[in-house]
């Protein structure tokens, strides 16, 4: 159980990058803990199992939030204050569509390969490469500013 708890902070950081919100990130990770805890000790790669739950949670949350417009019902948590270049980059990241953003984060934050990313976001490896190429084209404009 302690190994699961040790993953809390890394998972919140990952969810923060994918969702763009600390409030949603914490909610998603808490929910993932609920779902994963019963099975955590019995799976072959518990860390990957939890990561998959968090990534799925982020994507599900975003879909539901759009459909139900319920994100505003979450308790607001203070968002971190970043330097201006990071703020611009983060805005650019948020402007990507869900799958592009998840693919970029999984590739460049977690250093995952095409196959692992494809499995996490339910698409083909070739699609991952397309998603990342398009996302980078958008982020290039932000970074070059």
């Amino acid at each position: 159980m302690s190994a699961l708890y040790d993953q809390f902070a890394p998972m919140v950081r990952l969810a923060h990058l994918i969702t763009g919100s600390t409030s949603i990130a914490e909610d998603v990770v808490q929910d993932a803990f609920l779902r994963v805890a019963p099975h955590y000790a019995n799976v072959d790669n518990p860390r990957a199992y939890l990561r998959a739950a968090v990534v799925n949670g982020c994507r599900s949350y975003q879909r539901r939030a759009i459909r139900h417009e319920r994100a505003s019902t979450l308790a607001a948590r203070p968002e971190p204050i970043y330097d201006a270049p990071i703020v611009e980059f983060f805005d650019g990241l948020r402007a990507l569509n869900d799958r592009q953003r998840a693919a970029v984060v999984l590739r460049y934050y977690l250093d995952l390969g095409d196959d692992e990313i494809a499995e996490l976001i339910s698409c083909a490896p070739a699609t991952v490469r397309v998603l990342i190429r398009r996302a980078l084209a958008h982020l290039r404009k932000v970074v070059n500013q």
């Binding site: 159980m1 302690s2 190994a3 708890y5 040790d6 809390f8 902070a9 919140v12 950081r13 990952l14 923060h16 990058l17 600390t22 990130a25 914490e26 909610d27 808490q30 929910d31 803990f33 609920l34 779902r35 805890a37 019963p38 099975h39 955590y40 000790a41 599900s60 949350y61 539901r64 139900h68 319920r70 019902t73 979450l74 308790a75 948590r77 203070p78 971190p80 204050i81 970043y82 270049p85 990071i86 980059f89 983060f90 990241l93 970029v104 984060v105 460049y108 934050y109 980078l136 982020l139 290039r140 970074v143 070059n144």
Partner: protein
């Protein structure tokens, strides 16, 4: 900007954002049990059933963890204790069972799991080495003077410890603690100087030292005693050497003149502190192993996760074999009342054996 440079830039930016993410504490089993407000508020198809099933499964997983932990916990000799065991000219050999001080009743949110056959756990005896025989045999009329010194943890521990050891009828206890203090920042509070002034007046037979939680930091550049170690990271050789020197100095003084020193190691902390506190604890354990008249209470072993490296919100209570939440909910670096009692039990064990020896 070429593609490689862009990718590198994206990596750096993502890392910066992640590093700035504020992290609150993870949900406790108690929180899961009662249903988290956030989960209730979102209402995206989650049901109470999911919560109940989740809790039940969590408890099952925890029970397995406890079973493993209980198996591990039968071996509780610290490195210092092991070293002492190998060289001790004077040893206590009697098996010591936890005193009959009842644990504070735990409510539903405090007890994570009780093992199926929860019973008081026998604590492996601490073996004490004396290079000089104690000068006084404590009696009810002339009890051993016990002085607790250290940081805020010392202040929190004292009432629990006093309740336990006063049942021996052989001790009188006093406490001298300073919040936020330690051995790394003498500019804030200079313990070596303070103790060299207070010990001759207090004349303790046994000193219980509780330092460390505030020491997982670099030596200040204004600390003239730190020399070349100033500014070095906690895991650097320079930091280790300087901290070892300070611990050695204090152990030498507090265990001199017939005194016995019981040094209470740190009980670890939250995840971000654990690596630095582990270094601090290693240095202290190594120094304790070099000193006679010093008993090291290896709190780290009792409060760390079952994998030996992770933060543990729940640990074994040796008084009744239960597995309990031991962390302060607002600041998990600190122990809650149950945690303080458990730590006091281990110290009390060491103290009673010292009294037996005298």
């Amino acid at each position: 900007m070429n593609d490689t440079a862009l990718e590198d830039r994206v990596r750096v930016m993502l890392q910066d954002i992640a590093d700035g993410t504020p992290i609150s504490e993870p949900p406790t089993i108690a929180t899961l049990r009662s249903g988290t407000p956030d989960l209730d508020r979102v209402e995206f198809g989650r049901t109470r059933t999911l919560t109940v099933v989740g809790i039940a499964a969590c408890l099952l997983v925890a029970a397995v963890a406890i079973f493993n932990h209980r198996a591990d916990s039968t071996t509780t000799v610290s490195p210092a204790e092991t070293a002492a065991n190998q060289t001790s000219p004077i040893e206590t050999s009697a098996q010591f069972t936890t005193p009959s001080v009842a644990p504070t009743p735990t409510n539903a949110t405090e007890t994570a799991v009780s093992s199926p056959a929860a019973t008081a756990t026998t604590i492996t005896p601490t073996v004490i080495t004396h290079n000089v025989a104690p000068t006084r045999t404590p009696t009810a009329e002339d009890p051993a003077r016990v002085l607790v010194v250290g940081d805020s943890e010392a202040g929190l521990l004292s009432p629990n410890l006093q309740t336990m050891i006063e049942t021996t009828g052989l001790t009188s206890m006093s406490t001298d603690y300073q919040n936020s203090s330690g051995l790394v920042r003498p500019d804030f509070f200079d313990w070596p100087t303070h103790l060299r002034q207070s010990i001759p007046a207090a004349k303790p037979d046994i000193v219980i030292a509780v330092f460390g939680l505030n020491d997982a930091q670099s030596f200040s550049s204004t600390d003239t005693q730190a020399g070349p170690a100033a500014g070095h990271a906690v895991d650097s050789p320079e930091w280790r050497a300087e901290y070892a020197k300070r611990v050695d100095d204090l152990m030498n003084y507090l265990s001199a003149d017939g005194r016995t020193l019981i040094w209470v190691g740190v009980s670890n902390g939250t995840s971000d502190l654990i690596p630095r506190l582990a270094v601090q604890n290693d240095v202290v354990a190594a120094e304790a192993a070099k000193h006679q008249n010093v008993i090291f209470v290896d709190s780290w072993k009792h409060f760390i996760g079952i994998d030996g490296v992770s933060f543990a919100p729940y640990v074994l209570d040796p008084r009744d074999g239960g597995y309990k939440a031991v962390r302060d909910e607002t600041d998990p670096s600190n122990l809650n009342q149950i945690g303080q009692e458990i730590l006091a039990t281990y110290i009390d064990n060491a103290l009673r054996q010292e009294l037996q020896h005298r």
